[in-house]
């Protein structure tokens, strides 16, 4: 992927299995967000393609994305979440009812009618998660969804993610929380300077990282 003629990430050649939960790890600026955006089709690769094993030509319809800094629409929390359904053709009343259910699930039951813009950083992330989940995507991209959450909320979100994965949703998630990575990951993508430095099953990655840099990263050392 290139921007202004500069190679930001890649070359990347990557295959993901049809189910499971992939954690994308890597230091700041290593290209985690760029990789997720590329997979979701928000960015176009300079060369090559992103293919999904889906009959539908419009893969984004079955995907949802939780942004690192979530966008809050100028609406109430309920309407903000319901919007993700109404644009798919759902009736407003149904969408609102569904939105309230999902808001309660992620722990926003007490702020349903507040303007989304006044929520705290953590609440905004929960809203973004509810907005993604309500579309019942086949593939769910999460860009550091727990970055602003306290321990309890993080655990609650992790429980929800595990449930969703059990129901067959493919999850690809970037995180800086190694503990969370250990708890959730089926397999790990370790990014460094824009390339996938290591891709392996979670158990293997955390026990015996293949590369020295991955080992250093896990040990909490600075890697460039």
């Amino acid at each position: 992927m290139k921007r202004r003629g500069v190679q930001l990430i890649g070359p990347i050649n990557l295959d993901l299995e049809a189910d499971g939960l992939t954690i994308v790890l890597g230091p700041n600026g290593s290209g985690k967000t760029s990789l997720l955006r590329l997979m979701h089709g928000l960015e176009r690769p300079a060369t090559g393609t992103v293919n999904w094993a889906m009959p539908d030509s419009n893969a984004r319809m079955h995907q949802a994305y939780v942004f690192q800094t979530p966008t809050m629409m100028r609406r109430s929390v309920t309407d903000c979440i319901a919007y993700a359904l109404t644009v798919m053709g759902a009736k407003r009343a149904d969408a609102r009812r569904g939105a309230q259910d999902y808001a309660k699930r992620v722990g926003l039951g007490h702020v349903l009618d507040r303007p989304a813009g006044v929520l705290s950083g953590g609440e905004k992330q929960k809203l973004a998660l509810a907005r993604a989940l309500i579309r019942q995507p086949q593939i769910l991209f999460l860009d550091e969804p727990c970055a602003n959450l306290d321990g309890r909320a993080t655990r609650e979100i992790e429980t929800i993610l595990s449930e969703v994965r059990a129901q067959g949703t493919r999850i690809v998630m970037a995180t800086h929380d190694l503990g969370q990575a250990r708890r959730l990951a089926d397999d790990v993508l370790f990014m460094l300077s824009g390339v996938v430095h290591e891709q392996s099953a979670a158990g293997q990655f955390f026990a015996t990282p293949q590369t020295a840099t991955a080992k250093a990263f896990l040990g909490g050392q600075i890697v460039e």
């Binding site: 984004r60 995907q63 994305y65 993700a84 644009v87 813009g117």
Partner: protein
């Protein structure tokens, strides 16, 4: 000086007693301008939203033309509409010259670029904020435009009010195409011009009071709207 203070006193009396002529002219002014602003907004707001969400090669030129049209001298607009509507012009058969409809047409031409330009600026900012989300949610272009129009409604209302302010205070174009006919096409601004010319200061001043009051109300409305907009919540 005596003339002036007497005129002032009479003007206040006319406003206070709702002088029929004054009321009549004010209502016509509002009718023409409100109609014009509603029509102009119906064109300009979707246009502004469309320009915000669409990328095409001529976009920059369209916006440049829009901004240029914003500075169009109203008198020239009046002249062009006059030529179009006059007996020998292309739309002469409609017999619209010197009717309120002609004045509405002229005002629509004057304020549409203004409203579209302000709307486009506001919605462009909103779009840069919403872009990733709305793309991710797989929205159609229609949905994107509708979303911007709804979520940007406060800024858009401000744009419409700005258009209203420009239209209600405009003299040149509506004088030309309306003809300032008593009881038919006479509005606040053209009446003020006429009465001042005739030396009838009391009516002119009374009309002036009404116009100023409308302008103040309008500015207060814009002010309070943009204040709530700045808190960026809805």
């Amino acid at each position: 000086m005596n003339d002036l203070s007497q005129g002032l006193a009479e003007a206040i009396y006319r406003v206070a007693t709702l002088d029929p002529e004054l009321v009549n002219i004010t209502l016509r002014s509002l009718q023409v301008t409100v109609t014009a602003v509603v029509i102009a907004s119906a064109i300009a707001l979707p246009l502004g939203a469309w320009l915000a969400v669409t990328r095409f090669w001529a976009r920059r030129y369209v916006i440049a033309v829009l901004n240029a049209l914003m500075g169009l001298p109203p008198v020239v607009v009046g002249l062009i509409v006059y030529v179009m509507l006059s007996r020998s012009g292309p739309f002469g058969v409609l017999g619209l010259l010197f009717t309120p409809t002609a004045m509405i047409i002229a005002q629509v031409i004057i304020v549409t670029p203004l409203i579209a330009s302000i709307a486009h600026q506001a919605l462009r900012d909103l779009w840069s904020e919403y872009h990733d989300l709305l793309i991710s949610l797989n929205t159609t272009k229609r949905q994107r435009i509708a979303t911007l129009l709804w979520d940007g409604r406060r800024a858009l209302l401000t744009a419409c009010l700005a258009g209203f302010g420009r239209a209600i205070g405009e003299v040149g174009a509506i004088m030309i195409v309306g003809g300032n006919i008593d009881n038919a096409t006479r509005v606040l601004t053209t009446a003020i011009a006429l009465e001042t010319g005739k030396g009838n200061f009391s009516l002119a001043l009374g009309l002036g009071f009404v116009l100023i009051t409308l302008a103040i109300i309008l500015n207060l409305a814009i002010h309070s709207l943009s204040r709530t907009e700045r808190s960026n919540l809805w």
